[in-house]
Protein backbone atom coordinates (compact mmCIF):
# COMPACT_ATOMS: atom_id res chain seq x y z
CA UNK A 1 0.00 0.00 0.00
CA UNK A 2 2.68 2.42 1.11
CA UNK A 3 4.70 1.55 -1.98
CA UNK A 4 1.76 2.42 -4.20
CA UNK A 5 1.25 5.78 -2.51
CA UNK A 6 4.93 6.58 -2.88
CA UNK A 7 4.87 5.52 -6.53
CA UNK A 8 1.84 7.74 -7.15
CA UNK A 9 3.49 10.70 -5.40
CA UNK A 10 6.67 10.16 -7.40
CA UNK A 11 4.69 10.04 -10.63
CA UNK A 12 2.90 13.27 -9.71
CA UNK A 13 6.17 14.97 -8.90
CA UNK A 14 7.77 13.87 -12.13
CA UNK A 15 4.90 14.98 -14.34
CA UNK A 16 5.34 18.27 -16.10
CA UNK A 17 2.55 20.66 -16.98
CA UNK A 18 1.13 19.54 -20.30
CA UNK A 19 2.11 21.74 -23.19
CA UNK A 20 0.26 21.67 -26.44
CA UNK A 21 3.31 22.03 -28.65
CA UNK A 22 3.66 19.13 -31.05
CA UNK A 23 7.14 17.84 -31.76
CA UNK A 24 6.74 18.78 -35.43
CA UNK A 25 6.10 22.41 -34.52
CA UNK A 26 9.38 22.73 -32.66
CA UNK A 27 12.38 24.52 -34.02
CA UNK A 28 15.40 22.39 -34.86
CA UNK A 29 17.74 24.55 -32.82
CA UNK A 30 17.07 23.69 -29.14
CA UNK A 31 18.21 27.13 -27.97
CA UNK A 32 15.80 28.87 -30.34
CA UNK A 33 13.00 26.47 -29.39
CA UNK A 34 13.60 27.29 -25.74
CA UNK A 35 13.39 31.00 -26.49
CA UNK A 36 10.21 30.51 -28.53
CA UNK A 37 8.65 28.57 -25.65
CA UNK A 38 9.61 31.31 -23.19
CA UNK A 39 8.06 33.94 -25.47
CA UNK A 40 4.94 31.83 -26.03
CA UNK A 41 4.42 31.50 -22.30
CA UNK A 42 4.19 35.28 -22.04
CA UNK A 43 1.51 35.45 -24.71
CA UNK A 44 -2.11 34.94 -23.86
CA UNK A 45 -4.18 32.76 -26.13
CA UNK A 46 -6.82 35.01 -27.74
CA UNK A 47 -9.15 32.05 -28.27
CA UNK A 48 -9.12 30.47 -24.82
CA UNK A 49 -8.04 33.56 -22.85
CA UNK A 50 -6.94 31.84 -19.65
CA UNK A 51 -4.03 29.94 -21.14
CA UNK A 52 -0.76 30.94 -22.72
CA UNK A 53 -0.36 30.11 -26.38
CA UNK A 54 2.11 27.36 -25.41
CA UNK A 55 -0.58 25.58 -23.42
CA UNK A 56 -3.51 25.98 -25.74
CA UNK A 57 -4.70 23.26 -28.04
CA UNK A 58 -6.83 25.57 -30.19
CA UNK A 59 -6.11 25.32 -33.89
CA UNK A 60 -5.78 29.08 -34.18
CA UNK A 61 -3.22 29.17 -31.40
CA UNK A 62 -1.11 26.59 -33.21
CA UNK A 63 -0.65 29.13 -35.97
CA UNK A 64 0.23 31.83 -33.47
CA UNK A 65 2.94 29.54 -32.11
CA UNK A 66 4.14 29.00 -35.64
CA UNK A 67 4.43 32.74 -36.21
CA UNK A 68 6.40 33.10 -32.96
CA UNK A 69 8.77 30.35 -34.07
CA UNK A 70 9.16 31.79 -37.55
CA UNK A 71 10.07 35.17 -36.13
CA UNK A 72 12.55 33.66 -33.68
CA UNK A 73 14.12 31.64 -36.51
CA UNK A 74 14.26 34.80 -38.64
CA UNK A 75 16.40 36.43 -35.96
CA UNK A 76 13.92 38.61 -34.05
CA UNK A 77 14.77 39.41 -30.44
CA UNK A 78 12.29 38.30 -27.75
CA UNK A 79 11.10 41.87 -27.39
CA UNK A 80 10.55 42.20 -31.15
CA UNK A 81 8.34 39.12 -31.18
CA UNK A 82 6.33 40.41 -28.20
CA UNK A 83 6.01 43.82 -29.88
CA UNK A 84 4.82 42.15 -33.09
CA UNK A 85 1.99 40.42 -31.25
CA UNK A 86 1.25 43.49 -29.14
CA UNK A 87 0.84 45.61 -32.27
CA UNK A 88 -1.83 43.22 -33.55
CA UNK A 89 -3.67 42.12 -30.43
CA UNK A 90 -2.99 44.92 -27.96
CA UNK A 91 -2.39 44.59 -24.22
CA UNK A 92 -4.75 41.62 -24.21
CA UNK A 93 -2.15 39.31 -25.70
CA UNK A 94 0.41 40.00 -22.96
CA UNK A 95 -0.02 37.83 -19.88
CA UNK A 96 2.07 40.47 -18.10
CA UNK A 97 0.48 43.79 -19.03
CA UNK A 98 2.76 46.83 -19.45
CA UNK A 99 2.97 49.50 -16.75
CA UNK A 100 1.13 52.46 -18.22
CA UNK A 101 -1.59 54.90 -17.07
CA UNK A 102 -4.45 52.52 -17.85
CA UNK A 103 -2.82 49.70 -15.87
CA UNK A 104 -1.45 51.74 -12.94
CA UNK A 105 -4.27 50.64 -10.68
CA UNK A 106 -3.66 47.01 -11.65
CA UNK A 107 0.02 47.13 -10.75
CA UNK A 108 -0.13 49.51 -7.81
CA UNK A 109 -3.23 48.25 -6.00
CA UNK A 110 -1.60 45.23 -4.30
CA UNK A 111 1.42 47.08 -2.78
CA UNK A 112 -0.72 50.10 -1.89
CA UNK A 113 -3.40 47.97 -0.22
CA UNK A 114 -0.71 46.04 1.65
CA UNK A 115 0.85 49.28 2.89
CA UNK A 116 -2.56 50.68 3.85
CA UNK A 117 -3.38 47.50 5.76
CA UNK A 118 0.02 47.56 7.45
CA UNK A 119 -0.42 51.21 8.45
CA UNK A 120 -3.89 50.49 9.81
CA UNK A 121 -2.61 47.52 11.81
CA UNK A 122 0.25 49.64 13.16
CA UNK A 123 -2.12 52.39 14.30
CA UNK A 124 -4.57 49.97 15.89
CA UNK A 125 -1.84 48.06 17.75
CA UNK A 126 -0.19 51.27 18.98
CA UNK A 127 -3.47 52.67 20.21
CA UNK A 128 -4.51 49.58 22.14
CA UNK A 129 -3.76 50.19 25.84
CA UNK A 130 -1.18 47.84 27.31
CA UNK A 131 -2.86 44.90 29.01
CA UNK A 132 -3.64 45.92 32.61
CA UNK A 133 -1.93 44.15 35.50
CA UNK A 134 -4.13 41.42 36.87
CA UNK A 135 -5.82 42.63 40.07
CA UNK A 136 -4.17 41.55 43.27
CA UNK A 137 -5.66 38.67 45.22
CA UNK A 138 -8.21 39.51 47.86
CA UNK A 139 -7.75 38.48 51.49
CA UNK A 140 -10.40 35.80 51.11
CA UNK A 141 -8.58 34.30 48.06
CA UNK A 142 -5.28 34.26 49.93
CA UNK A 143 -6.96 32.48 52.80
CA UNK A 144 -8.42 29.94 50.35
CA UNK A 145 -4.96 29.25 48.90
CA UNK A 146 -3.47 28.88 52.38
CA UNK A 147 -6.19 26.40 53.19
CA UNK A 148 -5.22 24.29 50.14
CA UNK A 149 -1.55 24.04 51.14
Amino acid sequence: MRGWVLALLAALMLSRPAFAVDPDEMLKDPAQEKRAEAIGKQLRCPVCKTESIEESDADFTRDLRKVVRERVAAGDTDQQVLDYMHARYGDFILLKPPFEPSTWILWLAPPLLLMAGGALAWVVIRRRPAAAEPPALTEAERAAIEALK
Binding site: V47, K49, D59, F60, A87, Y89
Partner: protein, 179 residues
Amino acid sequence: MRRLLFVLPILLFVGLATYFAIPLVDGTDNSVIPSPLIDQPVPTFDLPPLPGREHGLSSADLKGQVQIVNIFASWCIPCRAEEPVLMGLSKTAHVPIRGIDQKDKPEDALKYLAELGDPYTSIGMDSDRHVSIDWGAYGAPETFIVDAEGRIRFKQAAPLTPADVKDTILPLLAKLGTK
Protein backbone atom coordinates in the same frame (compact mmCIF):
# COMPACT_ATOMS: atom_id res chain seq x y z
CA MET B 1 -14.73 58.40 13.33
CA ARG B 2 -14.71 54.90 14.83
CA ARG B 3 -18.03 54.07 13.25
CA LEU B 4 -16.69 55.21 9.88
CA LEU B 5 -13.89 52.68 10.25
CA PHE B 6 -16.44 49.88 10.61
CA VAL B 7 -18.52 51.03 7.64
CA LEU B 8 -15.48 51.51 5.39
CA PRO B 9 -15.02 47.81 4.41
CA ILE B 10 -18.71 47.55 3.56
CA LEU B 11 -18.53 50.70 1.42
CA LEU B 12 -15.43 49.36 -0.32
CA PHE B 13 -17.15 46.07 -1.00
CA VAL B 14 -20.28 47.71 -2.38
CA GLY B 15 -18.12 49.95 -4.58
CA LEU B 16 -16.13 47.05 -6.01
CA ALA B 17 -19.20 44.86 -6.45
CA THR B 18 -20.92 47.63 -8.41
CA TYR B 19 -17.82 48.19 -10.52
CA PHE B 20 -17.59 44.51 -11.43
CA ALA B 21 -21.35 44.03 -11.84
CA ILE B 22 -21.77 46.77 -14.47
CA PRO B 23 -20.05 44.89 -17.33
CA LEU B 24 -22.03 41.77 -16.41
CA VAL B 25 -25.39 43.43 -16.89
CA ASP B 26 -24.85 46.17 -19.48
CA GLY B 27 -24.60 43.72 -22.38
CA THR B 28 -20.86 44.11 -23.02
CA ASP B 29 -19.48 40.98 -24.65
CA ASN B 30 -16.31 40.35 -22.69
CA SER B 31 -15.09 37.81 -25.21
CA VAL B 32 -14.42 40.67 -27.64
CA ILE B 33 -10.80 41.74 -27.59
CA PRO B 34 -10.35 45.45 -28.32
CA SER B 35 -8.25 45.82 -31.45
CA PRO B 36 -5.27 48.18 -31.48
CA LEU B 37 -5.56 48.22 -35.29
CA ILE B 38 -8.55 50.56 -35.37
CA ASP B 39 -7.56 53.74 -37.28
CA GLN B 40 -4.34 52.04 -38.38
CA PRO B 41 -3.49 51.38 -42.03
CA VAL B 42 -4.32 47.86 -43.20
CA PRO B 43 -1.41 45.42 -42.92
CA THR B 44 0.62 44.84 -46.07
CA PHE B 45 -0.21 41.53 -47.66
CA ASP B 46 -0.78 39.79 -50.97
CA LEU B 47 -2.94 36.69 -51.06
CA PRO B 48 -3.44 34.39 -54.05
CA PRO B 49 -6.89 33.77 -55.55
CA LEU B 50 -8.91 30.58 -55.30
CA PRO B 51 -8.05 28.14 -58.07
CA GLY B 52 -9.68 29.10 -61.38
CA ARG B 53 -10.21 32.69 -60.29
CA GLU B 54 -8.34 35.70 -61.52
CA HIS B 55 -8.17 38.06 -58.54
CA GLY B 56 -6.81 37.39 -55.09
CA LEU B 57 -6.57 40.09 -52.47
CA SER B 58 -3.74 42.41 -51.56
CA SER B 59 -3.40 45.55 -49.46
CA ALA B 60 -3.18 47.54 -52.70
CA ASP B 61 -6.79 46.55 -53.47
CA LEU B 62 -7.96 48.23 -50.27
CA LYS B 63 -7.10 51.80 -51.26
CA GLY B 64 -9.22 54.40 -53.00
CA GLN B 65 -12.68 53.54 -51.75
CA VAL B 66 -14.48 52.40 -48.64
CA GLN B 67 -14.62 48.61 -48.47
CA ILE B 68 -15.68 45.76 -46.27
CA VAL B 69 -13.22 42.98 -45.50
CA ASN B 70 -14.63 39.71 -44.22
CA ILE B 71 -12.62 36.80 -42.87
CA PHE B 72 -14.44 33.53 -43.45
CA ALA B 73 -13.87 29.82 -43.97
CA SER B 74 -15.89 26.88 -45.17
CA TRP B 75 -15.24 25.03 -41.89
CA CYS B 76 -16.63 27.91 -39.87
CA ILE B 77 -20.25 27.29 -38.90
CA PRO B 78 -21.10 30.89 -37.84
CA CYS B 79 -19.79 32.00 -41.26
CA ARG B 80 -22.53 29.94 -42.88
CA ALA B 81 -25.10 31.72 -40.76
CA GLU B 82 -23.56 35.05 -41.73
CA GLU B 83 -23.43 34.37 -45.45
CA PRO B 84 -27.04 35.44 -46.28
CA VAL B 85 -26.40 38.73 -44.44
CA LEU B 86 -23.31 39.34 -46.56
CA MET B 87 -25.27 38.45 -49.69
CA GLY B 88 -27.86 41.07 -48.75
CA LEU B 89 -25.14 43.59 -47.95
CA SER B 90 -23.48 43.03 -51.32
CA LYS B 91 -26.71 44.12 -52.98
CA THR B 92 -27.57 47.09 -50.77
CA ALA B 93 -24.27 48.56 -49.59
CA HIS B 94 -22.63 49.45 -52.93
CA VAL B 95 -19.15 48.85 -51.56
CA PRO B 96 -16.85 45.98 -52.47
CA ILE B 97 -16.84 43.13 -49.98
CA ARG B 98 -13.44 41.48 -49.94
CA GLY B 99 -12.97 37.99 -48.57
CA ILE B 100 -10.05 36.49 -46.68
CA ASP B 101 -10.52 32.74 -46.78
CA GLN B 102 -8.86 31.56 -43.60
CA LYS B 103 -7.04 28.22 -43.45
CA ASP B 104 -9.31 26.55 -45.95
CA LYS B 105 -8.96 23.87 -48.57
CA PRO B 106 -9.52 25.56 -51.94
CA GLU B 107 -12.01 22.91 -53.08
CA ASP B 108 -13.99 23.27 -49.83
CA ALA B 109 -14.09 27.04 -50.23
CA LEU B 110 -15.34 26.78 -53.83
CA LYS B 111 -18.04 24.34 -52.75
CA TYR B 112 -19.07 26.65 -49.93
CA LEU B 113 -19.42 29.61 -52.29
CA ALA B 114 -21.30 27.55 -54.88
CA GLU B 115 -23.68 26.38 -52.19
CA LEU B 116 -24.35 29.60 -50.30
CA GLY B 117 -23.63 32.28 -52.87
CA ASP B 118 -20.63 34.53 -53.35
CA PRO B 119 -20.94 38.07 -52.00
CA TYR B 120 -17.24 38.80 -52.48
CA THR B 121 -15.69 41.14 -55.03
CA SER B 122 -12.50 39.14 -54.65
CA ILE B 123 -11.11 36.56 -52.28
CA GLY B 124 -7.58 35.92 -51.09
CA MET B 125 -6.57 32.53 -49.73
CA ASP B 126 -4.92 32.77 -46.34
CA SER B 127 -3.90 29.13 -46.11
CA ASP B 128 -1.47 29.48 -43.22
CA ARG B 129 -3.47 32.15 -41.30
CA HIS B 130 -0.54 34.57 -41.31
CA VAL B 131 -2.55 37.38 -42.90
CA SER B 132 -5.44 36.80 -40.48
CA ILE B 133 -2.94 37.16 -37.65
CA ASP B 134 -1.62 40.36 -39.25
CA TRP B 135 -5.18 41.67 -39.07
CA GLY B 136 -5.28 40.78 -35.37
CA ALA B 137 -7.96 38.18 -35.99
CA TYR B 138 -8.54 35.35 -33.55
CA GLY B 139 -11.13 33.32 -35.38
CA ALA B 140 -13.75 33.56 -38.06
CA PRO B 141 -15.89 35.27 -39.08
CA GLU B 142 -14.48 38.73 -38.53
CA THR B 143 -15.55 41.82 -40.41
CA PHE B 144 -13.63 45.05 -40.95
CA ILE B 145 -14.52 48.33 -42.61
CA VAL B 146 -11.63 50.02 -44.36
CA ASP B 147 -11.86 53.67 -45.39
CA ALA B 148 -10.77 55.18 -48.72
CA GLU B 149 -7.28 55.89 -47.32
CA GLY B 150 -6.85 52.21 -46.50
CA ARG B 151 -7.28 52.59 -42.74
CA ILE B 152 -9.23 50.10 -40.62
CA ARG B 153 -12.15 51.99 -39.11
CA PHE B 154 -14.27 49.23 -37.63
CA LYS B 155 -13.98 45.63 -36.58
CA GLN B 156 -16.52 43.07 -35.47
CA ALA B 157 -15.23 39.71 -34.30
CA ALA B 158 -18.60 37.99 -34.56
CA PRO B 159 -21.03 37.11 -37.35
CA LEU B 160 -22.89 40.08 -38.77
CA THR B 161 -26.60 40.01 -38.04
CA PRO B 162 -29.24 41.99 -39.95
CA ALA B 163 -29.43 44.25 -36.89
CA ASP B 164 -25.65 44.88 -37.02
CA VAL B 165 -25.98 45.84 -40.67
CA LYS B 166 -28.83 48.22 -40.05
CA ASP B 167 -27.56 49.78 -36.81
CA THR B 168 -23.80 49.79 -37.32
CA ILE B 169 -22.52 48.90 -40.77
CA LEU B 170 -24.77 51.00 -42.99
CA PRO B 171 -24.59 54.13 -40.78
CA LEU B 172 -20.79 53.86 -40.67
CA LEU B 173 -20.55 53.36 -44.43
CA ALA B 174 -22.74 56.44 -44.90
CA LYS B 175 -20.55 58.41 -42.51
CA LEU B 176 -17.42 57.37 -44.37
CA GLY B 177 -18.94 58.75 -47.56
CA THR B 178 -20.37 56.07 -49.79
CA LYS B 179 -23.50 56.29 -51.87
